[in-house]
Amino acid sequence: MKLLYFAWIRAKIGMAEETVTLPPEVGDVGQLLDWLETRGANFAAALKERGVVKVAVNQEYVGKDHKLGTGDEVALFPPVTGG
């Protein structure tokens, strides 16, 4: 699965994208965030404020209970500030 990070979530994690193989217990977006937080202090810091983390799967906004597939492109980012 391809993971993309943007803005201060990217800056805190220290990486713009990576390809991961999900452990079997990760089935939805909420579980993905739980798992990512265990991967290090940088992830924990980036995802600490769980309420502000926005998630897009295959470039569409999804909720925390969205089910994940192995070929998905999953992006994590803070609230948008363009315009």
Binding site: L4, F6, A7, W8, R10, A11, A56, Q59, E60, Y61, A75, F77, P78, P79, V80, T81, G82, G83
Partner: protein, 154 residues
């Protein structure tokens, strides 16, 4: 009828707006909103800068979806969104939203809807540098409120 451009380069508003209505003499009005970089330089600093990060692919998709919503909601003849990314200086154009319609009310409302909606949905992030320190611009509650008002009313 819907034109979306996500680009590093500046744009010419006169050329873009003329292009929007070209060849369609049923258009009675063109509304536009242009967002500009404001200067936030710290006192005594060398001047402020801004960097706009975005999510290539999703950006175009979201802008297209927003524009499609606008054309479904109002009788628009044409609809244009140009959004820049990369490094920008104070006074630089960031975004152009423009709508063309036979009816001015439709053009004006759709233009306001598009910029309000874009502010909460289009995956762009502003990194401001006031000449002393860098910080990611925080999303504003007022932007959420501005977008939310379109959910209820037309």
């Amino acid at each position: 009828m819907i034109t979306i451009k996500v680009q590093r380069e500046d744009f010419d508003i006169g050329v873009e707006l003329a292009g929007l209505s070209a060849g369609n003499t049923q258009i009675g009005g063109v509304a536009s909103f242009t967002g500009l970089v404001r200067d936030i330089a710290a006192p005594g600093s060398a001047g402020s800068r801004m960097t706009l990060e975005h999510y290539p692919g999703m950006t175009e998709k979201q802008l297209h979806a927003i524009a499609t919503q606008a054309t479904e909601r109002w009788p628009l003849d044409a609809c244009l969104i140009i959004h820049r990314y990369g490094e920008l200086a104070p006074g630089d154009r960031i975004v152009l939203v423009a709508t063309a319609s036979a009816h001015r009310e439709a053009a004006l409302s759709a233009c306001a809807f598009l910029i309000d909606w874009l502010k909460t949905k289009a995956p762009f992030w502003k990194l401001e540098d006031d000449g002393a320190t860098q910080r990611w611009v925080e999303a504003k509650d007022s932007d959420d409120a501005a977008a939310a008002k379109w959910a209820d009313t037309k």
